[in-house]
Amino acid sequence: MTHLLRLTVFALAAGALVLPILAGLWETGRAAFGVLPAIGADRLTLDPWRQLAALPGFATSLRLTLVTGVGSTLVALILAAGAVAMLAGRGGGPARLIAPLLAAPHAALAIGVAFLIAPSGWIVRLVSPWATGWDRPPDLALLNDPWGGALMLGLLIKEVPFLMLVMASALGQLPLRATLATGRALGYGRATAWLRLILPRLYPLIRLPVYIVLAFALSVVDMAIILGPSTPPTLAVALTRWFGAADTALILPASAGAVLQAGLVVGGIALWRGAELMLARLGRAWLRRGARGRGAAALLAACGAAVAGLVTLGLLALAALAVWSLAWRWPFPAALPEAWSLRGWLRPADWGEALGTTLALGLASTALSLTLAITWLEAEDRAGRMPWSGALIYLPLLVPQIAFLYGLNVVMLRAGLSGGMGAVIWAQVLFVFPYVMLALADPWRALDRRLLATAAALGAGPVRRLLGVKLPVLARPILTAAAVGFAVSVAQYLPTLFMGAGRVTTLTTEAVTLSSGSDRRVVGLYGALQAMLPFLAYALALGLPAILHRNRRGLTGGLG
């Protein structure tokens, strides 16, 4: 019986999550080698690869992708580790400031950052002309710069808070205070103890999220469209363009590029792993030397300052969205709009539908993912953990979206499933479910087993134990996982674009589309709405248990 349950859950997850990816990869892969019957291509050939290599700017795109992807991940990891070391055990005050950045979708944040750092952006406006003498915007490549600096900045603002969150929760599994006390007794300063005693043990716990960040940074599309260079752009953006080009012959080299993109991520992670092993070997010698150097404190302080700067930029970016959404006329170099207007907000006919669709998609994909996650974890409780199951769950986060979405769309079309809300919900679940699992699995597995034993002793069967004990006790982590899932759904760009056949418009697809328009006021409005939704979801996730459990003090923490 329990094995049947386990197999069913496994088969369901495999069928719903892994098969579509494999099918999509297969179609993309075929096209990469010249087979796409729709455009009359039916001969196995290496031509698409040759065409890809000959496309103008291809080498630069590749270099840009690697530099921005690997670079931003490395810097984000270092900064996050430093900031966590600074903040650990000092109360949640500063940590609360990163919450809006965690919640805000990439596209919204990117638009805000663009509003902020452009030559005509808010920062230059705030200091012009009185400090700079500029009465027209300077001719400086502060945004969409050919080196990808603005893109890396955007990625950092989003990824540093994410890694900080992951590290903070992983720290719970380490004997932090005891380790630091031991370190102090051995004559290590606080910072040195962090670097030498905590970090080497913390890193293995956050390895998977780091890989996810790396895979994401190497293949991000929406943020790279808004902040990245355009001639040429990063590989993922170039691919999105080629898949959408009028010249349909470009689909074949684009498919080859999509396969290459998948290879880049695999290669990037392999390279990263290699660097980890090398660093571990070198690090061991460095640890054994046991120097009590003073440099570490300055290093951590620098990281802390950089993170404070990033967080300030991120919050200002979100504020810029709000200000633009309320502006009517805001010429350069005025620090604030000359004329304000609620016009955009008072025309819900424009954005109401996109808002409704976003809500519907978010609720549906979150409900599905949450049900699947709870079923999965409950099956584990009853029948033990499945080998390889982790890899299965996180596969969608590690394979670049562009690598399989076009192929998946072809598959879905053949099955007559494309272009509807159903297809988009399904595609979103591919990405929502893993994050729900990431958020829920640890608290679920950490549940105090004595509660269940007591319930069983009192005669409660497995179903009653689930409904009467686990779900109420875990209400808070479950709601948090739901909020995380909802936020992920709101942020989805490519799956909605490709699977919705353009008919499903969400706040995110509208915001990215409009960001290449001429009206910052409308873009600001969409960005603000987009950023607000996940934030409300988190507020609800934190607020509801407090109300539900107002007379159950022991349940408010979930873990007791």
Binding site: S230, F243, D247, P331, S418, A501, G502, T513, S516
Partner: protein, 394 residues
């Protein structure tokens, strides 16, 4: 009807719904037309929404705009559907299209038609073989797409910052050299950027007549040589040193509004006046056209071969050609896009509707717009943009 009798008969047999208009109207009732249209312009989006309200009230046909960042997205979608063997019930019913996208779809048999001559309001349009509505970028339309709005290349500038705009490509180069960083153009992979290069090509080509035929190796080399020489002299003096380009004309219009550049460009002569009304350009923004005139073309709507709501799409295409619709479209307070109808074919009432349209200071008159130059064959555009990418994308 220009079609030979046999072909017309074959058409009737192939799609009986087209045989007579009342039947099309009856089938169309209750349909929802998914109109795939570039969505970078809010006033166009509003206009499309208005069209939907009208066709729903008049014919029971709803319109749902599928908002595109690039028309090619819709083309790709139809190709993907053909790839999957979806020959009926396709997701795209109507596309705002022209030029290379039209050529690509027509060549691959992805379009339904010919259907234009079956539209009752086609009688207001000059469909003779050489008329602007019969040729799309030198490619014969042959009834596979229905005209919608007129487009003509214009420059936009701020008359306060730039009292005398440069009115030829040579003058533009000299001005840019004297004012580095104050001019740019959209990236040529975007149609506006490509149009700028074509405008320059038409102006600088030793013999513009060869542009009407598909380019040959030799003709391309001799015709574009002066263009690249001119461009190499211009590029270092562009905004950001000619290393980065705005993604499309909307982004460039924003640069003009912010004062990052002094000149923007558009394919819609009324867009400047419209942008001023929307608070998106300063009140002093104006339009100018090169002395020799500028490239112009007609925008069309086409119906994919597998459109699920073919009849509804035809009803919408027909409604777009209604003189009342075209007059509203030309109204600067609505869309300000010039009509595609032949004034000679309009009756008194229709002419009056156009005569009473309001005007605006930034709205150019027909005389201001100067001569309309023919679009080069699409082959030139493809070659030109590829060549540009090879030369300047490092």
């Amino acid at each position: 009807m220009r079609l030979p009798f046999v072909a017309a008969l074959g058409l009737t047999l192939a799609s009986p719904a087209l045989a007579d208009w009342p039947e099309t109207l009856a089938t169309a009732r209750g349909q929802t037309v998914y109109w795939n249209a570039w969505a970078g312009d809010q006033r166009t989006n509003d206009f499309i929404a208005w069209v939907g309200q009208q066709t729903e009230a008049l014919y029971g046909v709803k319109v749902e705009q599928v908002k595109l960042t690039d028309t090619a997205e819709a083309v790709t979608r139809v190709i993907a559907e053909k790839a999957a063997g979806k020959d009926q019930g396709g997701s795209v019913d109507l596309i705002w299209i022209n030029g290379p996208n039209f050529l690509a779809m027509k060549e691959q048999g992805l379009l339904h038609g010919p259907f234009v001559a079956d539209l009752p309001n086609a009688r207001y349009v000059d469909l003779s073989p050489a008329a602007p509505a019969s040729v799309d970028f030198t490619v014969p339309v042959e009834g596979y797409e229905s005209p919608w709005r007129l487009a003509k290349f214009v420059f936009t500038y701020d008359s306060v910052r730039l009292p005398t705009p440069p009115r030829s490509m040579i003058a533009l180069r000299d001005w840019a050299q004297a004012n580095p960083g104050r001019f740019t153009h959209p990236v040529p992979s975007n149609f506006m950027g490509a149009t700028f290069l074509k405008q320059a090509l038409v102006e600088l080509a030793p013999d513009p007549a060869v542009l009407q035929a598909p380019p040959t190796e030799a003709a391309y080399a001799t015709t574009t040589a002066p263009l690249w020489e001119w461009y190499d002299a211009l590029r270092p003096h562009l905004w950001r040193g000619g290393q980065t380009f705005p993604e499309n004309q909307s982004v460039q219009q924003q640069l003009l509004n912010d004062g990052e550049v002094d000149i923007a460009m558009s394919f819609d002569p009324a867009s400047t006046a419209a942008a001023i009304a929307e608070g998106l350009l300063p009140e002093t923004a104006r339009v100018f056209v090169p002395e020799v005139g500028s490239i112009g073309n007609v925008s069309f709507v086409a119906i994919p071969f597998n459109a699920a709501q073919r009849e509804g799409a035809m009803v919408v295409a027909n409604f777009l050609l209604d003189p009342a619709t075209q007059a509203r479209q030309q109204d600067i307070t609505v869309l300000g896009s010039f009509s595609v109808l032949d004034p000679a074919r309009l009756d008194q009432a229709a002419k009056a509707a156009f005569a009473v349209l309001p005007t605006a200071p930034a709205l150019p008159t027909t005389e201001d717009l100067g001569a309309t130059l023919l679009e080069p064959h699409p082959g030139w555009m493809t070659w030109l943009t590829d060549d540009w990418a090879r030369r300047y994308t490092k």
